[in-house]
């Protein structure tokens, strides 16, 4: 059964249709990648899934339940975690407190359970030595790690990653991907927007291509990447 499914979701900003009848299902524990040129509506799709935007038509189902009318915090409590494309740390709180908020609210952990949960995640994301530093002072790599760590702290069953590998060096990227693989290996479903294709394809088993708000194709990564229309639209290469 699908952990997350969209049924005919559409959204327009004025005359511009940014999401056009998108339907797909993310199975439990699956990893699905989303690619598409800039302006294809990838981030808008994420905002529709998390509840930051309301669709004009269609439904969002979380674990079979219609959550289309629910707020982002309700969806988070139901097991939907996300990282932001541009890191959004709680700047005056420490790295540890950033996770603690997520664990106490979205993760619904008690004051006794939350600290160990948070420390475990800080270890896995390589942030343990920075636990008491203010999050606002972190450089880019650690901000990206914090985005991932904070989403993990909400104990999600689906995690949405928005260009988390963007702007990182190859070495940094490898490290982050290893953490994402370990989250996936634990059974958390992953929906991942990414331009860094080699990072994406090393984790996901299916790939979806968005173009002008429409789902162009969905399938096995190598098949999708070999398709002439994808090469033309996404990579700008003549087939």
């Amino acid at each position: 059964m699908a952990i997350l499914s969209l049924q005919g979701v559409s959204k327009s900003f004025g005359a511009l249709k940014v999401t056009d009848e998108v339907s797909f299902a993310l199975e439990k524990g699956e990893a699905l990648g989303i690619i598409g040129p800039n302006g294809a509506g990838k981030s808008t799709l994420f905002n529709l899934i998390t509840g930051n935007l309301r669709p004009d038509a269609g439904q969002v189902l979380l674990d079979g339940r219609d959550v289309t009318g629910e707020s982002p915090m309700q969806r988070c409590a139901s097991g939907l975690g996300r990282s932001f494309q541009i890191p959004q740390p709680f700047g005056h709180l420490s790295v540890y407190e950033n996770l603690l908020v997520a664990a106490r609210f979205g993760g619904r952990l008690s004051a006794a359970e939350a600290p160990a949960h948070c420390m475990g995640i800080l270890d896995r994301t390589g942030l343990a030595s920075l636990a008491d530093r203010p999050a606002g002072a972190l450089p880019l790599l650690n901000r990206k790690r914090l985005e991932l760590a904070r989403a993990m702290a909400t104990r999600p069953r689906v995690i949405l990653l928005d260009e988390i590998a963007g702007g990182l060096t190859d070495g940094e990227c490898v490290e982050l991907v290893a953490t994402i693989r370990s989250i996936h290996a634990e059974g958390t479903a992953i929906l991942w927007i990414e331009h860094v294709l080699h990072a994406l394809t090393s984790v996901v088993t299916r790939l979806m291509v968005l173009n002008f708000g429409r789902m162009l194709m969905i399938g096995a990564p190598d098949q999708v990447m070999a398709a002439p229309e994808v090469r033309e639209i996404y990579l700008g290469i003549e087939a």
Binding site: N52, C76, R82, L93, Y96, L100, R104, A111, C118, G136
Partner: protein
């Protein structure tokens, strides 16, 4: 630990003022303590919940009028009336929040101000409590309270002096209660959520925090305490009028000044602020209007050169924060 001992000694010294100090000092410090209660509340609102209200005088006035109504119309004990004042203020903060929470930033500030003025004009229509000119609290209602007789038996002095003594101690108790409650609240799960909302509301929602619910909670609780403080202030003052009870200058402008110079968004900030405010008031008492001009200039200077206030700048310069609100990562049993 040491900071708590110093604090305790300070609180104890303040508690002894009515026994050892002059009545003028007791009356002065009563006002200072009440301003501190209001400042602690406003700091929670603006500094932690991001609700920059310019209309908190509404709840001072509502609390004061509710207390007067309890005493004059219902014949209740003034202390009980003060508590009712807090409850009425909290109840009325619900419709105010319903209206004001649709506004953000500067519009919220203007909206709360407008609400406070509507409240002032509405209460000036209440003929039973003196309408626009106001009325006095029946002397006997206050002075015949059983607790006043007990205080006189213990410490002597006139009935009026015993009333000052009682209201002073109530104000001190209110300060200590609000300080303790703020400390506990800010370090709790809800306080942590509130600080997350202050830093980044979008991210806070994404990790399961409901910003509106937390802000509404703070708005309601601060209205309750502000209402109690209003009731207490006017037990001591003994006379009410719409202009005095809903005074923007006395109950909000001075309070904002205190919080801003002390350090907005820090728990000790309002304490430092109120000490500076009292010191300036004493030093400049003989200069009349010049005093208000100077107060304004100092406020502007601090906003320009020490944006985080005296306490905030102190923490920033020294890195020493004796009252941290944060949660430290747990120490590890086995080092890596």
């Amino acid at each position: 630990m040491r900071i708590f001992l110093i604090f305790l000694a300070f609180a104890l010294a303040l508690a002894l003022v009515p026994i050892l100090g002059s009545r003028a000092l007791v009356q002065d410090l009563f006002t200072v303590l009440c301003l501190l209660v209001l400042a602690l509340n406003w700091n929670l609102l603006a500094g932690f919940a991001g609700l920059v209200s310019v209309g908190q005088q509404a709840f001072v006035g509502i609390g004061a009028y509710a207390m007067f109504a309890c005493v004059i119309l219902l014949g209740l004990n003034p202390i009980l009336g003060m508590l009712v004042g807090g409850l009425v203020a909290m109840a009325l903060s619900v419709p105010v929040a319903f209206f004001a929470f649709r506004l953000h930033g500067a519009y919220f500030a203007i909206g709360t101000w407008a609400v406070a003025d509507i409240a002032r004009l509405s209460f000036s229509q209440w003929k039973a409590l003196g309408g626009g000119t106001g009325t006095a609290l029946p002397k006997e209602a206050v002075q015949e309270m059983a607790v006043i007789q007990i205080l006189r038996d213990l410490f002597g002095g006139s009935k009026a002096a015993a009333v000052d003594m009682l209201t002073y101690w109530l104000a001190l108790a209110l300060v200590l209660a609000v300080l303790a409650a703020s400390w506990i609240f800010l370090r709790s799960r809800l306080g942590l959520g509130l600080q997350a909302v202050r830093d980044n509301p979008v991210a806070a929602r994404a990790v399961g925090v409901d910003p509106t619910r937390l802000k509404a909670l703070v708005f309601l609780l601060t209205a309750f305490v502000t209402g109690i403080c209003g009731g207490l202030l006017f037990i001591q003052i003994g006379r009410i009028s719409p202009d005095a009870a809903f005074s923007l200058l006395d109950w909000t402008a001075f309070v904002i000044f205190i919080v801003v110079i002390g350090g907005i968004g820090t728990l000790p900030g309002p304490i430092i602020g109120v000490l500076v405010f009292y010191g300036l008031e004493r030093a400049l008492a003989d200069y009349g209007t010049l005093y208000l001009i100077l107060l304004g200039l100092i406020g502007i200077a601090i906003m320009l050169f020490a944006r985080r206030g005296l306490w905030g700048s102190f923490i920033q310069r020294t890195g020493f924060d004796p009252l941290p609100l944060g949660h430290r990562a747990p120490a590890r049993a086995t080092p890596e």
